[in-house]
Structure formats: C-alpha cells, structure tokens
C-alpha cells in the first residue's frame, strides 16, 4: 500500500514536469503563485493539461490492455501490437475514414474497435492451428498476422492516397493533443476500472478453461469481456494519439515479475506504472532534441523492443 502510494507520488511528479516543459516560452509556475498570466493559463488549459492527461490515460489503459490480454491468452508476450490487434484497428479506422468520412470520431473509433475485436478472434483461431503452444511461437504468429493485416491496410491507404495519414496513426505522438482532441481516452479509464472490477475473473480465466469451469465461471463470456476491453483500449488510443508499441508488454511483465499474476493486485500497479512509463518517455522525447520532439512511439519502441528481446532471452535460458 505504501509502495503504491510512492508509485503514485512518482507519477504525480512526472505529471508536474510534463506540465512544465514545452516549446512555448511561458512560465506556467507563475500561475501557481496566483499571478495573472493569460497566455500561460491558456497554454496550460488548451495544450499542456490535455497532453498530460492524455499521457496518463493512454499509458495506464494500454498497460491494462496488455495485462488483460496476457491473462486471457495465457502468454506473456502478447499485447495489442504483437497480435495484430492494433493493425486491425488501423484497418477499421481506414475503412471507416474512406467509406464514412463524416462520421463523428466516436463512431469511427467504435468501427476500429469492432475490427480490433475481429482481429483478435482471428488471432485466437490461428493459435488453434499452432501445433505446439510454444510460448515464443504465439507472439510470432501474432506479429505475422499483424504484418498481413498491416500490408492490406497499406495497400488501400496507398490506393487512396492516405499513406501519410496511416503513418501518422502508426507513430504514436502526443504533440498534437489539444483540448477537444483527446477526450475519447477517458473511455480507456472506464475500461481500466472495468478490468479492475473483473480482475478476479481474468485471473481465473488465465488458469485455463477447465479451471474456470470448475469454479463456476463462464469461460467464453469472460474471454469475450476481456477481448472487448482490449479492443476498446487499443482503438481509443490509436484514434486519439496513434499506436504505442510494446508498452503493454513492458509494464505488466515488470509488475508480474515482482508481484506475481494475481490480477487484482497487479491492476493498480500496471495502471500507475503505465502512466509513469509514458510520462517519462514523453518527457524524454521532448527534451532530447529541444525544442523539437521525438514521437513517443519511437522512445517507447526503442526501450520496449530492447526489453522484449531481454524477456525472450530470459525465457529461453529458463526453459533450458
């Protein structure tokens, strides 16, 4: 409990730093002392605060998406970006952008979520054909599926001259976040809370179908609930800030190493850790080439993929 409070404190400090830095040369601190400064307060309310909130919401919910997915697929290496879920959402977003460009962003997001859900069904179906449920083979299948879906998406984006837009989606970036352009991410918070409430169910489902049935839980319904949560989170994040790969892999795995897999205990940690990780990555991306920015997906991708390899190697040596 005390440790979690400490984690929250670190996250709060990171959030403060995130509020204070930026390209605009304003003294946000002066607001704290109650000095009237119109420009500073405008920048704070329209740009900085939404950005920091978006970072916290996206970071925590993507961490949760990874956690839920790892539980129900029973594999440590899955998360939306290693299973084709993000790519499916992107395809859905592209399709709805082409066919119904006038739809509100909420409707587009729901279409993307529907595609993401179908992508996950496809992934689970594919897994049934994998002869050995090798722990490393599962994400490999996912990454191949992601490649295929990504190729289809690129093809249509190319045909309709939407490649730059597609590139924008695949590069998660918070620099474009302004008031009025991030609010969908609050749905991610809702999903995080739902995952927290259903945490015990997911832990049970993570023990397998027979184990779940023995305890009187409906396995399929629990799985479906988890998949809906993951696809919603993946698509709200994609639509609002673009994809941030490997985030859902790093945070839940670190938490699992320390705390184990009882999801009820892991949920608050993953949420806090995910937020802190993204805040830190974003701060790093903002200061490393100040006043220019490195997109968050690059920062998190570099750290995350290195961690992914580390995790794979660790698994190998453990298995041997």
């Amino acid at each position: 409990m005390i440790a979690l409070g400490l984690g929250l404190l670190v996250t709060a400090v990171l959030a403060m730093i995130s509020l204070l830095i930026g390209a605009a040369d304003t003294n946000i601190l002066s607001l704290l002392w109650g000095l009237p400064d119109d420009q500073a307060s405008q920048i704070l309310m329209i740009s900085r605060l939404p950005r920091t909130l978006a970072l916290i919401l996206a970071g925590s919910s993507l961490g949760i998406a990874g956690l839920v997915m790892q539980m129900i697929v029973r594999n440590r290496f899955v998360e939306p970006s290693t299973t084709g879920t993000t790519e499916s959402a992107m395809l859905g977003f592209l399709v709805v952008t082409l066919l119904a460009p006038d739809w509100p962003i909420m409707g587009k997001m729901l279409v993307a979520a529907g595609f993401a859900l179908m992508g996950m069904f496809l992934f689970l179906r594919l897994l049934k054909f994998v002869p050995l449920r090798d722990v490393v083979l599962v994400p490999l299948v996912g990454i191949m599926l992601a490649g295929v879906i990504g190729a289809i998406t690129s093809f249509f984006a190319y045909r309709f001259n939407l490649l730059p837009m597609l590139l924008g989606w695949s590069m998660g970036d918070f620099s474009g976040v302004l008031r009025g352009r991030y609010e969908l991410l609050w749905i991610g918070l809702g999903c995080t809370i739902a995952a927290g409430i259903a945490a015990d169910r997911f832990t049970v489902a993570g023990m397998g179908r027979e184990f779940t049935t023995n305890l009187g839980l409906n396995y399929r319904r629990t799985m479906l609930f988890g998949l809906v949560i993951v696809s919603l989170i993946a698509s709200v994040c994609l639509v609002s800030v673009g994809s941030i790969p490997f985030l859902g892999l790093v945070v839940p795995n670190v938490v699992s190493l320390i705390l184990g897999d009882n999801m009820r205990r892991a949920v608050p940690w993953v949420a806090v850790g995910g937020a802190a990780f993204v805040l830190a990555g974003d701060i790093l991306g903002r200061v490393v080439r100040y006043p220019y920015e490195v997109p968050i997906s690059v920062v998190v991708g570099v750290i995350g993929s290195a961690f992914f390899i580390l995790l794979l190697l660790r698994r190998r040596t453990n298995a041997a």
Partner: protein, 252 residues
Amino acid sequence: MINATGLMKSFGKTPVINDVSVSLAAGGITSIVGPNGAGKSTLLALISRLMRADAGTVTVDGLDVWTTPASVLARRLSILRQDNHMTARLSVRDLVAFGRYPHSQGRLTLEDKAHVERALDYMALNDLQHRFLDELSGGQRQRAFVAMVLCQDTDYLLLDEPLNNLDMKHAASMMKLLRRVSVELGKTIVLVLHDINFAGYYSDQIVAMRDGRVLRQGPPAEVITSEVLREVYDMEIQVREIDGKPLALFYE
C-alpha cells in the same frame, strides 16, 4: 449420489465412452481404474461437465450437470484435471483462496478465510503459502491444487490422477490425506488412478473400465481379483491378500 445414464462420447469417429451407466453413492472414496484409453478421464470430464456428452445424462444429487447453472454446481462438485500447466505466477495462498470463488465471488469473508486456513493446514502448506507456484516441486504444486478444490468445500471432489508425478512417499501421503478428508469432512471423492494397488488399498468402491465401458463396480475385494483383472487388462495377474487388502502382483 452421482448418477450417469446412457453416456456416449466420441472424438471424431472413435467412441471413447460407449453407453456407460454408473451410479456412485455419496461418501467414501471411489476409484476408476483401467488400461490407457479406457475412457476413465473422459468419464470424469463428462460427470463434471467439462465435456458435453453426445448422449446420456449425469445428475449430481438430482441436479443435471449440463443444465444446472455452473455457479450452483461449483458449490456442489469440484474437479481437478491432471494437466495443470501453469503460466500464471500465483502464490499458493492466492490459488487456494480462488477455491472460494464460487461462494464469495472474490470478496473473501471471515468464513472464507477460515476455509483457506483449514485447506492449507490439511495439505501441510502453511510454510509454503507465500511461495509462487512456479517455485514449487511437482508434488508441492499438486498438493496446492488439491488444497484449492478442498477449499471449494464441495460435497463431491473429482480428481483425475492425483498421484501423477508423485513419488511413493508423497503418493501414499496424498491418499492418506484424501482418506482423512472423506472420513472427517464427509466428502465424496472420485479418483482416476493408474495404480490398482493404491486403488485397492484406499478405496471403498472401484469402477473398472475398458474400451469405453464399465466392466465391473464394487468393493476392492470383488474387483481386484485375477478374473476381473484378466478381463480388464488382458493380463494374468496374481492377487494376494495381505492384512485383508488385495494386492495385485502385476510386475511379472
């Protein structure tokens, strides 16, 4: 009382359970024995609604296992399968506490906690309760899973090969524990066992299966005999009686 009538189950075209009707009285230990592929585990899975029978019905105390809500049945009957491949890192105590899920949906009451303590006590897991499952030996993990179904506090406990991966010492102590559970807590325990001598020594009833059928059912003295074993295993097996227990010499 568990009643199975006219059970049929095939995988593809191969019938695995072929018209099985069996009734298992409440109380005591019943062991299902038979050669590989006799359908023992499948029968257990059908009884515990993990699999759906192609035909036939199973009732537990009058409740049809396929139509009774899973959560209701989970308070009457628990099942532990042999392959508990774990990817989840849970502590022993957390695992055992999940046995209370059907009763409390995750919010442990004082009564639930008492059940957890008792199950840990019974399975001598107190010293290991904070260890993660992946840090335990096969035998300890097996005990942790049995403690979980014990904690579920159902009238019927179905265990599929609980002696798998256990050495002599741990196998014997597992059977003694199950014995104690059935006597002291009045549980009905149904086991699938490979070792007919363990079955003969500790069971009150034995069900002998072969080729998806039940060949014989009765107390050990009636089932562990040369005639019955010849029919079940296609082997000449001498049976000696030692201290009133039948002992099959199947090593020759």
